[in-house]
């Protein structure tokens, strides 16, 4: 418990009281494995968190390539979320229009704040229609919108009537909720309500999947698609990296949902299970071992001998192809320690990959996770709602008369899940079970804690975001961004594991570390000579 106590010791009584439940040091027993999460950040602590808009526009709906996403508000929010997240996309058969390189904003001025911005928003939609003729427009609200009372949903409805397109308004004002997480939920609700289930493009195979919570950062989704395709598994949609609204419309016809980022999109997974009967499987394509395990679980779900054989062939082939590289990087990295602070599920996922490389994660945490991301979904019934969470709408869905179909009965699912070889269907155990005694878990980490943890725990590398990257590096610790991969990647799948191994090795072994201290710090200025010789 030493590190945790030392860390908390520096806080004033008030901050201590708040933070003590967000920082835990794991023990052998099951005690002390419970953590506080998804509560307000304390003003002034330099949290790494962003806002609701960032979660809705920046994360979930921004990557939709055939959608003209208009940020309704002053220019900044749209500007900062323009091309800054590495959600790669290319036009495909569903859409020849790629809006991803563009930024659209209503660039509200003082008079719009005073007199209301709806007129300007409607005009902006008219102009967007005339210029680009999109099939779908989404409106993302920034802070002032809710305050001045612009009704973006009503504007969206009017645009639908006027142009016969799909238009969706999101009330994702920055102040809603306590982090990006509220924005994910709001975006999930909109996508579920207005998009999924409105198309009828049938899958081409009987093994079709959506990969939920895959934003194709650095091309991760494409590497996953490549592997799954080799196995004979059809990927209908990535949610929402390289995705199109057009294609998401038929997402409900998939045979199985795979879930990568649990936090940002578990709502859709659950709602699709209820409404369409589609099971979801929490997968992890980060790491060679994790990818193999996930592929085998998918095969087990589909229960087809030919597919299972094919999966084993692909695993054998792919692992052989990366074996030498992985062994090399392992030889460089074995015994090194890491800290990981990320958003969604990466702090969990990357621990498995680091383990592949012989490394140990000693500190981990999330920016905006909920307790279920740490402790597993079993904890959900125990999570108490507070005023901030209640402000984020939770929608309920009912089984769809036309499309609901169950692949397995409840008994069959229970059988699939049972035993050592059971698969984690429709459930997630969270990050903490992956970690060992003595490891520190920090929720909603701040600058101060990051600084202190580096001093106390001294990991060899810290995987975090851009806001921390350079202060960590300045302190002499290797630092790589695990949100943007420092513009490298993909890190998913077999080839991604090698890329990651190379990048971590590079960060630890760069010759520059040897140049930090100038030689004169160690060498005396005066070279002495023995006296008395003359």
């Amino acid at each position: 418990m030493i590190d945790r106590e030392k860390l908390l010791d520096k806080y004033s009584a008030k901050v201590y009281k708040n933070r003590k439940d967000h920082i835990i040091q794991l023990e052998e027993t099951d005690e002390a494995r419970s953590i506080a999460a998804n509560t307000r950040a304390i003003p002034g602590v330099m949290t790494a968190r962003g806002c609701c808009y960032a979660g809705c526009k920046g994360v979930v709906v921004g990557p939709l390539k055939d959608v003209c996403v208009i940020t309704h508000g002053p220019v900044g929010c749209g500007f900062y979320s323009w091309g800054t997240r590495r959600n790669k996309a290319k036009p495909d058969e569903h859409t020849d229009k790629n809006f991803v390189p563009y930024c659209f904003s209503t660039d509200m001025q003082e008079s719009d704040i005073v007199f209301g911005g709806e007129k300007k928003l409607e005009k902006a939609i008219d102009e967007a229609m005339e210029l680009f003729d999109p099939k779908c427009i989404m409106i993302c609200s920034t802070c002032p919108i809710g305050l001045i009372g612009d009704d973006v949903q009503a504007v969206a409805r009017r645009a639908e009537e006027k142009y016969g397109i799909k238009a969706i308004g999101f009330s994702c004002e920055g102040y809603k909720g306590v982090s990006q997480s509220g924005g994910h939920h709001i975006a999930n609700n909109g996508v579920m309500r207005f998009i999924i289930g409105t198309g009828d493009t049938q899958p081409k195979t009987k093994f079709s999947v959506n990969i939920l919570g895959e934003y194709n950062i650095g091309g991760d989704g494409w590497e996953e698609e490549r592997i799954l395709k080799r196995c004979g598994i059809e990927v209908l949609n990535l949610f929402t990296g390289d995705a199109s609204c057009e294609s998401l419309k038929s997402a409900h016809l998939a045979h199985l949902n795979l879930l990568m980022c649990h936090r940002s999109i578990n709502y859709i997974a659950e709602m699709m299970k209820t409404k369409y009967g589609i099971d979801w499987l929490k997968v992890n394509f980060i790491g060679v071992g994790a990818t193999c395990k996930s592929l085998r679980e998918i095969a087990k779900y589909f229960n087809n001998s030919e597919l299972t054989m094919r999966v084993e062939e692909v695993i054998a082939d792919e692992t052989a192809a990366v074996y030498d590289d992985m062994e090399y990087y392992k030889s460089k990295l074995t015994g090194k320690t890491a800290g990981i602070f990320s958003g969604g599920s990466r702090s969990h996922h990357y621990q498995v990959l680091l383990e592949d490389l012989g490394m140990k994660t000693v500190i981990a945490g999330y920016e905006f996770a909920h307790r279920d991301d740490y402790e597993g979904r079993v904890i959900i019934p125990q999570i108490k709602e507070d005023a901030d969470n209640k402000n984020i709408e939770s929608i309920t869905v009912a089984p769809d008369e036309r499309f609901y179909r169950e692949v397995y009965t409840e008994e069959q699912i229970a059988a699939l899940k049972a035993g050592e070889q059971g698969i984690g269907l429709n459930s997630y155990d969270g990050m903490i079970p992956e970690m060992g005694a003595g490891d520190v878990v920090v929720d909603d980490y701040n600058h101060f804690e990051t600084d202190e943890l580096i001093r106390l725990v001294k990991p060899d590398i810290f995987l975090s975001g851009i806001k921390d990257k350079y202060s960590i590096q300045k302190a002499g610790v290797s630092s790589r961004q695990i949100h943007s991969y420092d513009y490298s990647g993909p890190y998913a799948g077999f080839n991604g594991a090698v890329n990651f191994g190379r990048d971590v090795t590079m960060a630890l072994y760069t010759n520059v570390w040897g140049l930090v201290t100038p030689p004169w710090k160690h060498e005396p200025m005066l070279v002495g000579s023995l006296g008395g010789g003359e």
């Binding site: 790494a48 962003g50 790629n98 005339e130 210029l131 300045k474």
Partner: protein, 454 residues
């Protein structure tokens, strides 16, 4: 790339596409980082602070510290008084800055939070300072945020004791640390004691030592800001960004000022040197004159490659005015010159430059965006594009040589460490401009025209 951009330009009045500006708070944050021991504080939702820190870190490849009031729905309804007082307490406890510089956001501005009175009621530890500036995101651009924060500092801190401190205040405007170092070097050569305000050198280009210091050596001190009222005079660089702070200093503390364009290129650097000479009343040293001579020599040597080349320049008003003047000195034709910042003064300055050099068929526009610039280029192409990283999309789409300058440059390294101002900065620009033009020339010519000597 940018395949949806049509060639036909249509008037837009509501939809901003691919903006050439961002909002006020990031300017306030950047200005505040140029004050020693200062924690910039964003009074609004967490996202603003996160976005601003991110863009600054991505440009400078440095830590950019700032804290947030972390507004929730409750605070948005009831006001952010308790958020800011809690924040200030925690910041002083945890991060121990000398100063907290609060700026507002569109959220706190819309609900009408009265920062002045909140700060007055605050329990501020002995010897510590809290200042604020109003920076509504829906007015002007990040440039306004920068000069509003400067004025915020001055309103709180600047005094006039009546004793002249013998210093000349220099407002460098929104430039990189490398530019500030160059401006200081020139002032040093001219033997003028200066106070640079703000001064991000040493902060956003802090050296790697193996030890992280939240408040690195660098930045204008509170005492120096206090002393602005006692300074000999002010040289405000950047006619758009410098005008209001210089005017404030004159109005409140009777300090005379000289307002100059950002010293990019020969003429504008000459003006800076002349202004410094008026302060020091000493001759321009041979060293500086020789530097100028080397620049002019280089310009003559290379003029054939830039003569009448069409260039499009975009970015923040003052840097664009500077680059346009220098492009004209190099014999180029600044075909399209835009800024996203809505300032009519910008257009007048650029058009005056067109007239001075007698170039025709050129367009200047403030409150413009990159979508429109791209459309113009589709109609009449240019040989070179100069601006922030976002220009790379247009450059790729139209296959135009592209030089990064201004803010933000998110995809290249080392830029902020080096100047574009002063004679040295101009020498760097000539090298960069001719390099991109000649690299392109070499790429395009046939084998028989591929020259070893150029």
């Amino acid at each position: 790339m940018l395949d949806l951009t049509p060639k036909t330009v249509k008037e837009r009045s509501a939809l901003r596409v691919n903006p050439c500006k961002t909002c006020q708070p990031v300017g306030a944050m950047y200005a505040a980082l140029g004050v020693k021991g200062c924690m910039p504080h964003s009074h609004g939702s967490q996202g603003c602070c996160s976005y601003h820190r991110t863009v600054l870190s991505r440009h400078f490849k440095e830590p950019a510290i700032a804290s947030s009031s972390s507004f929730t729905e409750g605070a948005s309804v009831f006001g952010g008084r308790s958020n800011i007082s809690t924040a200030a307490k925690n910041i002083f406890d945890m991060y121990d800055p000398d100063i907290i510089a609060v700026h507002t956001t569109c959220l706190s501005e819309t609900i009408g939070d009265d920062l002045g009175s909140y700060i007055m009621d605050m329990d501020i530890p002995e010897g510590k300072i809290v200042v604020h500036a109003n920076t509504p995101s829906y007015v002007g651009s990040h440039i306004n945020g920068f000069f509003n924060m400067m004025m915020g500092f001055m309103n709180y801190l600047t005094k006039k004791t009546g004793t002249n401190n013998g210093k000349t205040a220099v407002f460098p405007g929104w430039v990189n640390p490398g530019d500030i170092r160059e401006l200081k070097r020139i002032a040093g050569l001219m033997n003028v004691p200066t106070t640079f305000f703000p001064d991000q050198s040493g902060v956003l280009d802090a050296p790697m030592t193996g030890k992280y210091d939240m408040y690195p050596e660098g930045g204008t001190t509170a005492e120096e800001i206090q002393g602005l009222g006692d300074s000999e005079g002010v040289i405000a660089l950047g006619e758009i960004i410098g005008a209001e702070p210089a005017e404030l200093l004159k109005k409140k503390w009777k300090t005379p000022y000289t307002l100059l364009p950002m010293p990019v290129g020969v003429t504008y650097t000459d003006q800076y040197v002349l202004a410094l000479r008026r302060q020091s009343k000493t001759e321009v040293p041979a060293e500086l004159e020789a530097e100028r001579g080397r620049l002019v020599d280089l310009l003559l040597d290379s003029h054939q490659y830039t003569y009448q080349k069409n260039v499009a320049i975009f970015g923040d008003p003052d840097v664009v005015i500077g680059l346009t003047s220098f492009a004209l000195e190099m014999g180029m034709t600044p075909k399209y010159v835009i800024t996203g910042t809505p300032k009519g003064e910008f257009t007048r300055r650029i058009e005056a430059l067109f007239a001075k050099y007698g170039v025709t068929g050129c367009t200047a526009k403030a409150n413009a965006d990159l979508f429109e610039l791209h459309q113009w280029i589709k109609n009449e192409p240019v040989d070179l594009l100069i601006g922030s990283t976002y220009g790379k999309q247009i450059a790729r789409s139209e296959d135009i040589p592209f030089l990064r300058a201004g803010f933000p440059v998110l995809d290249r390294y080392g830029g902020p460490l080096q100047p574009i101002v002063g004679y040295a900065g101009a020498i760097r620009l000539v090298e960069q401009i001719t390099n991109v033009l000649l690299d392109r020339f070499d790429r395009d010519v046939s084998d028989e025209d591929f020259e070893i000597v150029l």
